[in-house]
Symmetry: C2
Subunit: 328 residues, 2 copies
Amino acid sequence: MARGFVTAEEVAKRAGVSRSAVSRTFTPGASVSQSVRRKVLQAARELGYRVNRLAQGLNNDRSNLIGVVGTNLSAPFISKQLDLLSIGLLRRGLQCLLLNAADARKDIAPLIELLFEFRAQAIVVLSGEPPSSIVDECIANGVRLILVNQRLDRTDTNMVLSDDSRGADLAALRLIAAKCKKVAVVSSGSQTPAQVRRATAFTQRVQTAGIEVVAWSDGPTSYESGYQAGCDLLRDKRIDGAFCVTDLLALGFLDAARIEMHRRVPQDVSIVGFDDIPQAGWKSYELTTIAQSLSALTDNVLVALGSDEPATRLQVVPVSMIERKTVR
Amino acid sequence: MARGFVTAEEVAKRAGVSRSAVSRTFTPGASVSQSVRRKVLQAARELGYRVNRLAQGLNNDRSNLIGVVGTNLSAPFISKQLDLLSIGLLRRGLQCLLLNAADARKDIAPLIELLFEFRAQAIVVLSGEPPSSIVDECIANGVRLILVNQRLDRTDTNMVLSDDSRGADLAALRLIAAKCKKVAVVSSGSQTPAQVRRATAFTQRVQTAGIEVVAWSDGPTSYESGYQAGCDLLRDKRIDGAFCVTDLLALGFLDAARIEMHRRVPQDVSIVGFDDIPQAGWKSYELTTIAQSLSALTDNVLVALGSDEPATRLQVVPVSMIERKTVR
DNA sequence: TAGATCATTGCGCACGTGTGCATTTTTTTG
DNA sequence: CAAAAAAATGCACACGTGCGCAATGATCTA
């Protein structure tokens, strides 16, 4: 009571029972008589006792901690993902140990190392690019690893990802239907695997349709980069369509087109994004985009966490096109 | 090696030393000879050993865990806050245990209870409304509590908050300078303490200037609520100014004004927001708003976490007006 | 070289909990 | 009411680590 937390020992003493009795009182399904249970609960309440989960995890070897690591946590799409995931974890009685990797490439590995030290039961990587070697380490230590929207070329870890190439296809088909003559593919300079998949799938599809394509990629994955892309690319008056591999990029591009470069959207230029972040639906934008199902993505992660033997290592979540007003 | 993690015991055996030697090798400043240290490190690397921080925390009583609890984690302002905070924590060697309170009022208390069970060293409340009683519990258990943008009427806990009334004043003065005749105050239905402070301070200042005020508040703190507010309020043609207590609300209001209610901004209606979220600076909006200094807010939280005896219980962070294009 | 100082090492306890095992108490059965 | 079955209870060990304490070995001083 003096300082720090109350221990089961103290509760036992006050209730006049053994420490085991206290432990059993708080262990569902253990064998305790009604009278003892009452006395223990009474004493526990008076002293403000709470089980020490760390000590609990020490001999259980169930820490109940799930490591979540990611970059760019305030980007709309990722923050929404984190929001849903953290709620889902809590519902299942799991705790979320959040590690923010400031630098996508260099920081991930040491952070996962750190999660090992905390004996995380499983690790979810939301963004950033983990080296393939950590998969082996996870397996060696019996830690389940779940990669979201990432694709490593191995079959011994869980991956949940949106159908990027299908999404890029949808975007391409839509721009083809809009009779675009020359289109741009805009991505960031970070070149994450997902962005690359989208860009290449789109390029391929559009090229086989005989449409001219120009690629742009620079800067972080942000509104500002998209804006810059718009300013750069639309000097070319022949460009009449654009696929931005991320909604943030698309919204920046859209603003550049309308405000800086005086284009009408969709009459002069058609634009398609990817993700369907909330801002894409705002009235000033009404962006036509490829929607990832955030709930499906999250549900799959939670399932992969829950099941003892993962049924499917690779979960591809379907995407869909949201028709709004930025394509002719 | 068979399953689970490697223990210091196993490393000791392989290196041919005592377990203490292993412990000391990984304890900075402990006394170990070069030769032993080398042998231990070698064995540790071969076996893939990592210290068990949970066990470490058990006798240190330093868990190194910081509980972070909040609502509405995907809202731009809060997600940015979380982003900065999680980076700052990591820099200081602290871990972030994230708890997402789905329901602002009911969930906070049990979540903090949970954090006690994990022996969190400190608890940061980013949003939501913790009952005053938990302050006592934190003190009783020696857990530091830090409330962000919240104000409890007590002096025995740490609070870091933006200068809401000053911000509201700035907004009011600006709208007065724009010669508004009738202004609206828009807030959400959740009526968080911060929102209430802003709304009342604004109302008071504007009323003493003899300007007519109408209040609106409903729904969650979202773009959509702001949009709804705009549609409702602007039926009244006499309203020529609005203060939205949150940028999200302001952006919705702005879109409603321009697109749905055919008002010119700022010629017909002047709008001021609060927070300065990234979207406020986007070219389609260029919202004039009151900026909270996110970095100052976060820094103060980190300082409050770090210092042993908190110098100031109540930290008020200054705000500033960002002049953009939505006020005449 | 003998004595003194200092670095290194191992033993054992402590942290707070869950649980197997043997023992005691209660309940059920015939 | 006696015997058997069942429930309740306490003891002691295990989980993995840090650290105080005493003992050992190495280095330095005169």
